[in-house]
């Protein structure tokens, strides 16, 4: 009955594309968990923060404008007018510059996080570090909004819009969003780059060494702090990409930080320590929840997507407690 439905394949493919978007967020979690054993709850908020910063730089917004206004009655809200092309879109070189600048901000942020929050907490239990990242999330959430304001901001970086691609409609009759197809490409490039980075560079090897065994890595002269800094910076990059992709769809606003909740079941399913797991998990969750919502949802009242992903992951874990590709959990007394 499913296979003959002309919509079935469209549901599956749009589920796959949605899954890629989830994977983008989940990747950030995996990177940090793998390298430092920290379950970084602030990943979603980092995506929001990165996207807000990007838009702020792109539009020449004055940081903390609202605060200055309230404290000193300063009326200024803009620092500069961004260079635009004939259609009123920002120039491409300027977009690239803004992205690079945002990445710089994320790297500085990573340095601060490692230096101020994580260093004093080395060796604490996982749950304590998890809590610390929630605290960090609150700081970024409040700080980000203070800095850039709580209005919804359209993101204009030359990404394709959410409209369906005509070519695909003509060829297959399916309506697939250009934005999501672009996101899928970006995700592929990102994963490939991350793989190359961790497999073929010396930095990447050090990273994997730390992931395998902190103390052994330390004893051969790898600086844990530097590695963590790099990992958090890379997670910042992933957050920026995820924030851009999600933000292009809904505008940059506070709700963006809630996408983390969509990534958690992906993590469970794929395993906390596996990059391919995050991708495959995202795809499975995306397809599963879309098919369920589409076929079963109307019978039980709909709006099932929020919990169904967790239920799939839960059922799956009952059979494989470490997720699809997670490291086997070895217990010793």
């Amino acid at each position: 009955m499913f296979l003959t439905d002309p919509f079935f394949w469209e549901v599956v493919i749009s589920g796959l594309l949605a899954g890629v978007m989830y994977s983008l967020v989940a990747l950030g979690f995996v990177l940090i968990f793998k390298a430092s054993g920290i379950f970084n709850f602030a990943q979603g908020i980092m995506a929001l923060f990165a996207a807000l910063t990007l838009v702020g730089i792109l539009t020449g917004q004055l940081p903390f404008a609202h605060v200055w206004d309230a404290l000193f009655g300063l009326g200024a809200h803009h620092l500069y007018d961004p260079p635009v092309n004939a259609e009123g879109d920002p120039q491409l070189w300027f977009v690239a510059l803004a992205i690079a600048a945002t990445l710089g901000v994320m790297i500085v942020l990573a340095r601060l996080v490692v230096g101020i929050v994580l260093r004093p907490l080395v060796g604490q239990e996982g749950i304590i570090l998890f809590m610390a990242t929630i605290g960090l999330g609150l700081v970024l959430e409040g700080g980000g909004d203070l800095m850039w304001g709580s209005n919804v901001k359209p993101l204009n970086v030359g990404l394709p819009d959410n409209a369906p691609s005509d070519m695909i409609i003509d060829a297959t009759g399916m309506f697939l969003s250009k934005l999501e197809i672009a996101a899928a490409f970006v995700a592929v490039i990102l994963v490939a780059a991350l793989t190359v980075f961790s497999q073929y560079t010396s930095m990447g090897r050090a990273l994997r060494a730390v992931a395998d065994d902190h103390q052994a890595a330390l004893s051969v002269g790898i600086s844990l702090e530097t590695i963590w800094w790099i990992v958090w910076s890379v997670a910042g990059l992933v957050a920026l990409v995820a924030g851009m992709m999600w933000g292009a769809k809904s505008g940059i606003q506070f709700s963006l930080s809630l996408i983390a909740l969509k990534a958690l079941p992906v993590l469970m399913l794929g395993g906390f320590t596996s990059i391919p797991g995050a991708i495959l998990g995202g795809l499975l969750i995306g397809v599963g929840e879309k098919v369920f919502e589409f076929y079963i949802g109307p019978m039980i009242g709909g709006a099932t997507e929020n919990w169904f992903a967790y239920v799939i992951a839960l059922l799956f874990l009952l059979f494989r407690p470490q997720g699809l590709f997670g490291d086997k959990i070895i217990e010793r007394v």
Binding site: F7, S14, A18, S150, V152, P154, G251, F254, E293, G301
Partner: protein, 429 residues
């Protein structure tokens, strides 16, 4: 446990919250400038605040009494909303604008017991339109049920006078707010012979692919939406992505602000939404606000929202409240009125087109004539449409009257059930 420490802190806190003994008119603003719904909350709060600043700057308040604005941040969250209610009550609030259907439900019994009017213009509990039972709630100029039938009427007109055999989908925020119109639409479906499809979207609503695929599969002729926050922006994008004809997609009056359509860009062109007031920036009141408020550097927020839909909503809320206070001053003959007096003011509020023109808003909104029985107002709504190229809304219909034959029996039944559940005697003679 360390209760002493807590009590010390508590005592410190009470010192801060102790009501200031001033004879001002206290206008509370339960706003939400933070959190997931902030993009909608900010322009509303700015409009509300600017109008009050205008009254203070230009007229020296109302009837010679200065207005004191007490703002309290709810984050669109009921817990904080109730806390805000208690704190503005302690400040001597003359009325409450809860700015959230969820908070309204919590406050109806509390505010009634405390004799403070609740002004929920165009949202909240629909059956509160029955003033006989809900003595302290005012939801004029129209309720969710009114606007649901207005939207259906507009669809009927669009499809040539009959909806027989048509299919209408309701995409709604899965909360008390979103569920409000379901019963009315079900009744209306029986009357007009259309088929109703219900499609809930959970908070926050960033992923709606499956919902819109459903729409593409079932091919409803019209879609209406009860959305809020990010859900609106995503829904409009997704509707465009499945190439749903935008003129057949009509949102409620809370799904039709600039914030909802701008992020979607050109895709949003032609999207419609209901409204209970006109659009545009061509009103004397705005000039007054610019002159007396913005030019003096007293604008609320960053001042960038002036003239937008939700900004006007804020103005309308402040304006109706101010008029109710004026009415109360007239009725009691004293200038420092109490919350109970303002309730009476609301209940006797009459505003005609001439009154609005005198206030600087000619041809702007619907006349109000509140009576003891009817707190729901005229129940009129117009349809506005978005033009993505010029980034403006424009009204495409006149104000349409709600289908009273559907709404009134539903209100009567629901109010009666509430009265019975809570042993409320009718207040009107």
């Amino acid at each position: 446990m360390n209760l002493t420490k807590k009590l010390v802190l508590a005592a410190a806190a009470v010192a801060f919250t102790a009501p200031l003994a001033m004879a001002d008119l206290v206008f509370p603003s339960l706003s939400y400038r933070t959190g997931p719904y902030a993009p909608n909350g900010i322009p509303f709060a700015d409009g509300f605040e600017d109008y009050i600043t205008l009254l203070n700057e230009r007229d020296g308040g109302i009837g010679g009494e200065k207005i004191r604005l007490v703002e309290c941040e709810t984050g669109y969250n009921t817990t904080k909303g109730v806390e805000c209610y208690e704190s503005v009550k302690a400040e001597g609030a003359l009325f409450i604008v809860p700015n959230s259907t969820g908070i309204t439900y919590q406050l109806i019994p509390k505010a009634t017991a405390d004799d403070i009017p609740l002004a929920t213009h165009g949202y909240g509990r629909t059956s509160a339109a029955n003033g006989d039972v809900f003595s302290h709630v005012f939801n004029f100029p129209g309720t969710y049920w009114d606007v649901a039938t207005v939207i259906v009427k507009h669809m009927k007109e669009q499809s040539g006078g009959s909806l027989e055999g048509k299919k209408i989908a309701l995409v709604y925020h899965n909360s008390a707010y979103g569920k409000e119109p379901i019963r009315t639409l079900e009744e209306n479906a029986k009357k007009d012979g259309f088929e109703l499809m219900l499609l809930p979207v959970d908070h926050p609503g960033q992923e709606q692919k499956a919902t819109w695929l459903q729409i593409r599969k079932e091919r409803p002729d019209f879609v209406t939406m009860w959305g809020w926050g990010v859900m609106n922006q995503v829904a409009i994008q997704e509707a465009a992505a499945i190439r749903f004809p935008m003129e057949n997609f009509i949102g409620v009056w809370w799904s039709g602000a600039e914030q909802d359509v701008v992020p979607a860009g050109d895709a949003a062109n032609g999207y419609k939404a209901a409204t209970f007031h006109n659009v545009g920036t061509d009103y004397p009141l705005l000039d007054e606000i610019k002159k007396h408020v913005h030019d003096k550097g007293n604008a609320a927020g960053d001042g960038s929202h002036i003239g937008t839909v939700l900004y006007y909503r804020g103005i309308m809320n402040a304006l109706w409240a101010a008029e109710a206070v004026k009415k109360a001053q007239e009725m009691t003959g004293k200038s420092d009125v109490t919350a109970g007096d303002v309730r009476d003011g609301y209940e006797n509020l009459v505003l005609t087109e001439e009154d609005y023109a005198a206030l600087g808003l000619p041809n702007f909104t619907v006349p109000i004539n509140v009576t003891c029985q009817n707190h729901g107002g005229p129940g009129l709504g117009a349809i506005q449409q978005w033009d993505a190229a010029s980034k403006t809304w424009s009204l495409v219909t006149d104000f349409i009257e709600a289908d009273r034959s559907i709404v009134d029996p539903l209100i009567a039944a629901d109010a009666e059930a509430y009265a019975k559940e809570n042993n409320i005697a009718p207040q009107c003679k």
